[in-house]
Structure formats: C-alpha cells, structure tokens
C-alpha cells in the first residue's frame, strides 16, 4: 500500500508515492537525498531534524510525509543563496556556534523561526527558544551569541 503526495520542497514541486508510515524526515533524506536534515533521536527531543513547514519550524521526525501533502517545506539546503551564507548561517560561522555540525542544520532552522517571531531576542529568549534543540558540543554559549548576532544582521537586512 502506498499514498501519493504532492508538496513543494525548497521551491520545487514534488510528487511521490510513499509507504504511509514514511516520516517526513525519511522522505526528505531517502527519497529526495536532502541529507542535510539529520536524525538524532526517536522521541522528538533533539531537534536535529528541524525543517520549516509553511514557514514554521517543525520536527520532521514527528510527522508523516503524508501529513505534509500540499505543504511548502524548506530545508537547510535552501537557506544559503547562490553560494552566499544567510546572515544567520554567517553568524554561526563567525561565532564558532558549531563543532561537529550534526545538530547545526536543525539549530539554524530553529533559530530562523525564533527570530521570525522575535526579531530582537535577549539571551534568555534565545535560550528558551532553543530548548527543543540539543547540542552536545558547544555548550550553547556561542550558539546564543550567534543567534543574537544573526538576528541583528537580519534586522539590518544584511
């Protein structure tokens, strides 16, 4: 048994026939080879799989691909434009907000969502806003700095 879904991923329309139990993250990684979205747990706790669905951050391991039918999905692969890092990505690099890089795509997607809702977050707001994303390497110190620096750059339209 399979279901047919049509959705927009990174600006391109995709139609596919999938096993109904296929998770959105499995669809992105295995069917579309968008391997920038990672899987770090099986309980929706780590946030490594965070993508944007219709403009909001979601954990793509906690929803079925079928549930994304008709939706618009953005993954980390579409954040940089023409080889130029997005200001949030540039801030992560400048602040050394990543080490092993595994949580990074989810962290950037969560940070963009956070800043969309609160363009000028203080440290507390950033720490609370990233509560759903685990990083085992950085101790969060530089991630917090990066999100604030990225937010400032986005405010300037950088």
């Amino acid at each position: 048994m399979s279901v047919t879904i049509t959705l927009t991923v990174n600006g391109k329309s995709v139609t596919a026939s999938v096993d109904p139990r296929t998770l959105l993250v499995e669809f992105l990684r295995n069917e579309l080879s968008l391997t920038g979205t990672h899987v770090g747990c099986d309980t929706g706790q780590c946030g490594a799989c965070t993508v944007h669905l219709d403009g909001r951050a979601v954990k793509s391991c906690t929803m079925l691909a079928a549930q994304a039918n008709g939706a618009e999905v953005t993954t980390i692969e579409a954040v940089a434009r023409d080889g130029e890092l997005h200001p949030m990505q540039a801030a992560f690099r400048d602040c050394h907000a990543l080490q092993c890089g595994f949580c990074t795509p989810g962290m950037v997607m969560a940070a963009l969502d956070l800043v969309a809702a609160n363009p000028s977050p203080d440290e507390k707001a950033v720490r609370e806003g990233l509560d759903g994303n685990l990083c085992r390497c950085t101790g969060y110190h530089n991630i917090v700095k990066a999100v604030q620096q990225g937010a400032a750059a986005m405010r300037k339209g950088g």
């Binding site: 096993d19 139990r21 990684r29 295995n30 080879s33 968008l34 391997t35 920038g36 979205t37 990672h38 899987v39 770090g40 747990c41 099986d42 309980t43 706790q45 780590c46 490594a48 993954t75 980390i76 692969e77 954040v79 940089a80 890092l85 990505q89 992560f92 690099r93 400048d94 050394h96 990543l98 080490q99 092993c100 890089g101 595994f102 949580c103 990074t104 795509p105 950037v108 440290e123 507390k124 950033v126 720490r127 609370e128 990233l130 509560d131 994303n133 685990l134 990083c135 085992r136 390497c137 950085t138 101790g139 969060y140 110190h141 530089n142 991630i143 917090v144």
Partner: protein
C-alpha cells in the same frame, strides 16, 4: 582575521569546515548510500541476564525482503571483541577477561546485548522480520550495581570471572600512607558516588559495510574516532582478515566524546556479512538503541580520605574505588579506572604519599569505557570534593587550602607515577577568582538571601594527563598498542599542500587548526592547505582522537613531517641559488641565501621538486612528500581552576548555575576561538553530570530506566549560563608546539566546582553531603532530611 594571512598561529581563524556543515553538505555515515545497499537491524536482548536455550530464525528468514539473518551460530571463526589494555592485579595475576562475543553466545548479559542481525531490503522489513525471531530465554537474576555485584551470592555473570571480579589493582606506597595517617592532626573523609553517564553524541553510531569482488576487499564507513584502530582490532583480532584488504572511512562524525573510540559488535558483524550477502549493508542506530549499546561512562563508588597536619597541609591520601565495567570489557575499559584515574590523584598538590586501590566488577549493564575525560574527571571529583571538605573541616578559605598545598617547583614527581613537566597553578586560581568576582560574592549571597535563595561558590583546581601517550610508559602499564601518531605532508607542484593526519576530527576543527600550523610553518595561506583525516585508504596510520591528544601528538607528527619538507626544500633551494645548504635560511615562505636578497619562494622550490629540469638528481630524489611518526616522551598536563556560583531555591530544590568562570593552562594555543569552544562544551557536559544527567537501571530487573531523552536529562540551552573563560600559558616542555590539549578540561573540572558550590550553599541549612546529579528532588529531600 582573514584566512589568506600566513601569520596565523594564535589567531581565531574561522573554520574551514563550517561552510559544508552550515549548508547541509556534511557527509556523515548515514548520508552514505551505496548502490543496491541493504539494511541491518539488530535484535537485542530484552533481559538483563538470561540463558539462551535456543533461537529459531526460520520465520524471520521467510519474511518479506529479508536477505539474511545471522546469530552467533553463523559466525564461525569469528573471535570475540578484544580489550586493548591488560591490567595486572595486586595478586600478580592478569585481569579476568571473559569473552565478548560479537553476537550473544549461550547467554545475554545486559539489556541491549545483540542477539541476531537481520539484513533486509528496507530498514522496516529488517525490523519487522526481527520480531519473528523466536529466542527461548531462561531469565536469570541480574545485578547492576558494582558494589552489589561483588557481594557473596550475587548472580554470576561470567564463568571466567568468579565473584564478578575483573581485577583488584593498586598504586602507591600503602605503608607510607598508613604511617602518615597515623600521625595526622586531622583526617577528612568522603564516600563518593560518581554517577553513571551516557555519552550521547547527537549523531547516533552508524556503519555501511561493503565487499568489492573485483578488489577482493572491504570498505567500511563508520562513525568512529579512530578508523585505523578500528581496522587493526577488527581484522587482526576478530575477523582474521588481511588488514590491507579492509579500508575504514570515518567521514564527518557527529561528536564522539569517547563513545566512538571502540570496536563495536555491529560494524564487525556487518563487515563479516557483507561478503556473504554480496551487497552493501547499512545500519544506523536509533537513539533508543544507542542508550543500550554505546559504551557508558563513569560509575564509581569511592571512599576517600585525606590526612593533614594542623595547618591543613596534605600528608597523605587513601582512596578505595569500586568501578563498574558493565557486562563485558570494552576496548579501553580496564585502563580508565586505573591508569587514567589513580595516577591523577595528586591533583595540583604536593601530597607526598598516596595509595589507591581499585576493584573492577562485571554487572548486567552496558559496557563502561572512556567518556570525555575518562578517569580524570573521576579523579578530579574525588580530589576536589575532598579538598573542599578539608577546607570546611579546617575552617580555611577554599583558595587558601589549595594555595597551601600547590606544587610550585617543576618537574614534579608525584607519588602516583607521573612527572609533571610544567605548570602555574597560582596564576590560574588568581585569574579564575578575578573572572568570578569572588570579592563581590558576599554581597551577592546576602542579596540572594533576601529573596529566600541560598547562594554558594565552589572551586575545582583540576589537572589532567593528556597527549596520550608515551608508548614505552603505556606499554609498561599494560597497553597492548603504541600510542604514537602519524602525519604526512604532501606538497603539490604548485605549492599547495594536503596534510594527512591519523588524528580524527569529530567537531574539534582539525581542518582549520592543523592548517594553521602548516600555513604558518611554510609561510603559505591557510586556504592552500587541506587536511585529510579519517580514511585508512589515504592516511598512513593513526591512533585517532581521544585523551586531548590531537594537537600535542598528531600536530607534532605533522610538525616533524614539515621539518623534513623544509630540510629537503633547503637542499633544492641551495642548488637553485648555487649556494651552500648551510647558508640557506627559511622564513616567511622563502628560502634565502643568508645575508643576501637572493631567494626562492616555497612555491618555486615545490615546482622544482616536481619538474626537476634543473635539479641535483645525483644527490636528491624528486618530489616533496614526507611522512613522520611521533611518539611523545611524556604526557602533557593541562590544568586550571574553575569557579562555580549557584543559587538554590530551598522550597523547590532547584539549583541554578548563575555563573561559571574557568581559567585553564593548555600550553600554547593555535586557535583561541576553537579552544574556547572546546571549554564551553566540556563545561556543559560537566555541568550536565552535576546538575542533570544520570543513567539509572532498575536494581531488580536490570532494565535501563533512563533510556530516552525524556528520561535521561541532557543539558539544554536554558540549563546552563554563558561562561567566563580565560587562559594562562606555561608551554609544554617536550613537544615543539608547546601544546597540552584542551578537549576534556571542561568536563573534568566542572562537576567538582559545581558540587562544591552546591555544598557551600546547602551548608547554611545543615546539609553536609549530596551526590550528583543535584536534581531538584534530591536537593529538596536533602534539605528536608537536614531540617528534620
């Protein structure tokens, strides 16, 4: 700071690896998808301890999409997983070393012990089929606590380890220690539990194994910290394959923290099966699987005593520790609570006599091995909790009791086998106290009290032995391998460079730090240097990354290879410039005839080496490619002081870390930005241990109770503060970079600093002792008990 600069030592060059990670272009093992690959799923034991009466795989083999099912009965000729370190006990006998089968044989010994491997077309088909395997278990009583395991009548886990004992081992002069205790003015004592932890790199373990008929060789992609060690152990000790027929690639690896050092059962079974299946096999652990199959860390039970004279000067220390090995000996398990633990019990102090006795026990739990710091956090926790207690007992300020006992003359021979080459402990303590604004603490405490909160401040002056390790010393202590490192520097005809290192980066930023070392030594831009690691097919050899050894040992191997490159370049330049070799100086990327302006650039010399039209072919081979192996002469000794300030809510038991300051001495620093990042991450793991993390097994059933992120509390962004970090430098005296290593310091120093702060805060309400983690429930109960 631009990357095209060549004057890059000590500069915070932004990382070369970041672009790919930030754009989703990283290539982790689970991103590797060879054509026609199959998927493995491991059926694991649901019981902590059981006899296997029989396994029926027939229904699974007939299930849709199944390619193969194997159990231990199929693994003919496959040996058990080896332990790399032989510990000799106080009885003069080698440790008890029971077999560690790749798939459970006859018995299962912990929840998660792999029993069968199913290979199928899809992950779901493999998983579904595993449910059709009938395993007839006779459930046996289990024991999970290491002290209980050694008691008479405890369930016997291995026939080869009577009483569940692996070894009892000791270090130090017991008679001298007993004599010092007999004349001591005061003895401080503590009974300490170092809580069991689960490493939890965010990338789960993963592997892709394939066999190539044309080459008659195997390729294994695996999330590993040391691919050469993985290959050596797997081929020579377990599978009996020719080492040169197996290529192990550890591509981008999403964190390790020790848990990806070891040779594990899963990838071993997959390599074995890949030839039989005739197709690539892929496996990625689910997080629930990681919890019951990645090696755990810590898990010590210790009684520690410190003898002092009337002025609080340390006379002797006596430590008895029971360490949990888990169900089997993991790759380095045996050396963690011995060689990497007891040797660090001198800390930063002149304590003249130390005796430590360690008994290691088998239990029905996941194997325990190195986790960030590996033995040294456990030692630091014992020493620094005990020193805090001594300060309380002797009514001395916490900085004063430390200063009274600091080592100030180097080299310093400790009574526990190490020789510290250099250090400056007062400087780090002073700076950490300045960063922490200790002077303002009394006012902050008073202000908190007005709000009904308890403030406390705690210190931890840690030391670690890093740069593992001088092979001859390690060998004398039982290491079954050398612990050197290899580096190859390949200069290309146009003067750009590829460096091959046996160290492995899984977040540490070697591609940048090592490129800085090369760029500055050769006088070329950082962007002209690429660093290759994690591939036995490309890198000559390597012992990998752990024990904060990459720069001190791996970096030094590269420096030695660079020295050979420069020496050969000097000969080529002398020929081109028609000068004596002894007159050629090399600086800023140019070979110059001394005292003249006649010179050749590094690029010109490189081109000449590969296009030798005008070349001393009678004296010199063409080409510019050098390899070096470096074996350190001593350990390195990073050290520092961490100061933690906490606020406890006595009504709820919630502990908030309000400030954390660290001053560390890592020797010379190549990239301060990367070093600070390592400290932040280590501190958070240390605070995780002290504040949140706890691996809990049910004592009766042996089930892992903290088996998901909903039960095992990982530190999140809102659990920790921003950190104040600083450094002081005493360069390491025995490697050319003067580097000591920085990767583990945070995790080593932080737990004691935080718990000392918690004890300082809780002293006001009469609580005298609490174990990690200082969870709200535990703190609240301790306060209630003290008030009762």
């Amino acid at each position: 700071m631009g990357a095209s600069d060549t004057n890059v030592m000590g500069k915070s060059v932004r990382r070369k690896e970041d672009y790919r990670f930030l754009t989703g272009a990283g290539q982790y093992t689970d991103d590797v998808n060879p054509d026609r690959h199959t998927h493995a799923y491991f059926l694991r034991s649901p019981h902590a301890h059981a006899r296997i009466r029989g396994i029926d795989t027939s229904r699974a083999k007939a299930a849709p999409g199944v390619v193969a099912v194997c159990t231990s009965a199929d693994l003919e000729g496959v040996n058990g997983l080896p332990c790399g370190w032989l510990i000799t006990g106080t009885d003069g006998k080698p440790m008890n070393e029971p077999p560690h089968p790749v798939l459970a044989k006859g018995k299962v010994r912990h929840v998660g012990d792999p029993v069968a491997m199913v290979v199928a077309e899809t992950p779901n088909q493999a998983k579904d089929a595993s449910e059709l395997i009938d395993v007839d278990y006779e459930v046996l009583p289990a024991v999970v606590n290491c002290v209980d395991a050694l008691k008479r009548g405890a369930p016997q886990i291995h026939d080869e380890a009577p009483g569940n004992k692996c070894y009892t081992w000791a270090l130090g002069d017991k008679a001298a220690v007993d004599a010092a205790f007999a004349k001591a003015a005061h003895v401080s004592k503590l009974d300490i539990v170092n809580n069991r932890l689960i490493p939890n790199a965010i990338e789960p373990r993963a592997a892709v194994a394939s066999y190539d008929r044309a080459a008659d060789g195997y390729t294994l992609y695996v999330a590993s910290q040391n691919p050469h060690v993985e290959r050596l152990l797997m081929t020579a000790f377990v599978l009996g394959l020719p080492e040169h027929k197996v290529r192990v690639i550890a591509p981008d690896v999403g964190g390790g923290f020790g848990s990806k050092i070891y040779l594990y059962a899963e990838e071993t079974a997959m390599v074995w099966a890949s030839k039989r299946v005739g197709r690539p096999i892929k496996w990625t652990a689910e997080r629930s699987e990681s919890f019951v199959s990645d090696a755990h860390g810590r898990d010590h039970v210790t009684r520690a005593e410190l003898a002092m004279d009337k002025d609080g000067r340390f006379l002797a220390m006596r430590v008895h520790t029971t360490a949990n090995m888990g169900a089997y000996l993991s790759t380095f398990a045996s050396c963690i609570p011995t060689i990497l633990y007891a040797t660090l019990l001198a800390g930063q102090y002149t304590t003249p006599a130390i005796y430590c006795e360690v008994t290691a026990a088998f239990t029905n739990t996941v194997p325990v091995d190195a986790y960030r710091g590996a033995g040294r956090p456990e030692a630091t926790y014992v020493v620094e909790r005990l020193v805090h207690q001594a300060g309380v007992d002797m009514k001395l300020p916490q900085d004063e009791i430390r200063r009274r006992n600091f080592i100030r003359s180097f080299p310093h021979q400790t009574p526990v086998a190490l020789t510290y080459d250099t250090g400056g402990y007062d400087a780090c303590l002073d700076e950490a106290m300045r960063l922490a604004d200790v002077k303002g603490f009394a006012a902050r405490k008073a202000e908190a009290a007005k709000r009904g909160k308890l403030r406390g401040i705690g210190y931890s002056s840690y030391i670690e032995a890093c740069g593992l390790a001088p092979s001859n010393i390690a060998g004398a202590l039982g290491a079954r391998a050398g612990l050197f490192e290899a580096g190859e520097v390949r200069v290309h005809p146009t003067g750009s460079v590829t460096v091959f290192t046996g160290s492995h980066s899984h977040g540490q930023g070697h591609e940048t730090t090592f490129a800085q070392v090369v760029a500055s030594r050769l006088g070329i831009p950082v962007e002209n240097v690429d660093v290759v690691h994690g591939d036995t097919g490309r890198v000559p050899f390597g012992m990998g990354t752990y024990g904060s050894r990459s720069l001190a040992v791996g970096g030094t191997a590269i420096v030695k290879a660079l020295d050979k490159i420069v020496a050969k370049g000097r000969k080529i330049a002398a020929h081109l410039l028609e000068a004596a070799e002894s007159d050629i100086e090399f600086a800023d990327g140019k070979f110059t005839v001394s005292g003249t302006d006649r010179s050749k650039t590094f690029g010109e010399v490189a081109l000449t080496a590969y296009v030798p039209h005008n070349y001393p072919l009678d004296k010199l081979e063409p080409g510019l490619n050098e390899t070096a192996f470096y074996d350190p002469t001593n350990f390195t000794f990073p050290a520092g002081t961490h100061v933690c300030e906490v606020e406890v809510d006595p009504d709820t038991g919630v502990v908030e870390v309000v400030a954390f300051s660290a001053c560390d001495d890592f020797g010379n620093i190549v990239n301060p930005m990367i070093v600070e990042g390592q400290v932040h991450g280590g501190l958070t793991q240390g605070l995780g241990q002290a504040l949140l993390e706890n691996c809990v097994y049910d004592a009766e059933s042996g089930q892992l109770l903290s088996g998901t992120y909903m039960d095992y509390a990982m530190p999140r962004a809102d659990d920790v503060p921003s950190f104040n970090v600083g450094t002081k430098v005493t360069p390491c005296t025995h490697n050319p970079l003067g580097a000591k290593g920085c990767g583990e310091a945070g995790a080593i120093g932080a737990p004691a600093a935080m718990m000392n702060a918690v004890h300082d805060a809780l002293a006001a309400v009469g609580v005298t002792y609490i174990d990690m983690p200082a969870s709200p429930h535990r703190v609240w109960r301790a306060i209630q008990a003290a008030r009762a």
